[in-house]
């Protein structure tokens, strides 16, 4: 089990309050595999430094979780399949 930090950049056209429930649904895969989700931090709408898919805004969310490498990889894959997800970034802050 490792500690990961996952940043998700979502489409600005979705409702901001639906963000947390829908992310939670994605995170079920982590919970089912014995991992834990420590924190979901929704930053909300933010201006992008450059346009992504013709959009100049995005909804940022940062998730702290502890999980197995395969689980986290699967989570990242599923997120990227979703059309509402513009970018994801998975980082292990304590790797060094």
């Amino acid at each position: 089990m490792r500690h990961y930090e996952l940043m998700v950049l979502l489409d600005p056209d979705i409702e901001e309050r639906t963000v947390e429930p829908s992310l939670d649904q994605f995170l079920n895969v982590v919970r089912q595999d014995g991992g834990t989700v420590q924190k979901i931090d929704v930053w909300g709408r933010r201006r992008l430094a450059y346009e992504i898919r013709k959009k100049s805004e995005g909804i940022y969310a940062v998730i702290d979780l502890v999980a197995n490498p395969q689980t986290v990889k699967e989570l990242d894959r599923q997120l990227n399949l979703n059309e509402n997800v513009l970018r994801t970034k998975l980082i292990r802050p304590d790797a060094r």
Binding site: L9, G58, R87, K89, P93
Partner: protein, 78 residues
């Protein structure tokens, strides 16, 4: 005429070493903005005065940050 006296460069101390930072966060854009030029380029080590290790950490953090559109890849000149 005599040449201008050779300038002694002031030795800068790496700000991260001074504060004992061991992880440069890519989410902290306010901090990282200090290390990019107004064109969006990463400032050189001789400008920032960072040590090699921390300069590298900053550069990686900036690059991560750019991928998430938190920082620009380029800024058009004003």
């Amino acid at each position: 005429m005599t040449k201008a006296p050779a300038r002694k460069p002031k030795k800068k101390v790496c700000t991260f070493c001074k504060e004992g930072v061991d992880y440069v966060d890519y989410k902290d854009t306010n901090l990282l903005r200090k290390f990019i030029s107004d064109r969006g380029k990463i400032r050189a080590r001789r400008v920032t005065g960072n040590c090699a290790q921390h300069q590298r950490d900053v550069a990686t953090a900036i690059k991560n940050s750019r991928e998430m559109a938190l920082l620009p890849y380029t800024n058009v000149a004003r």
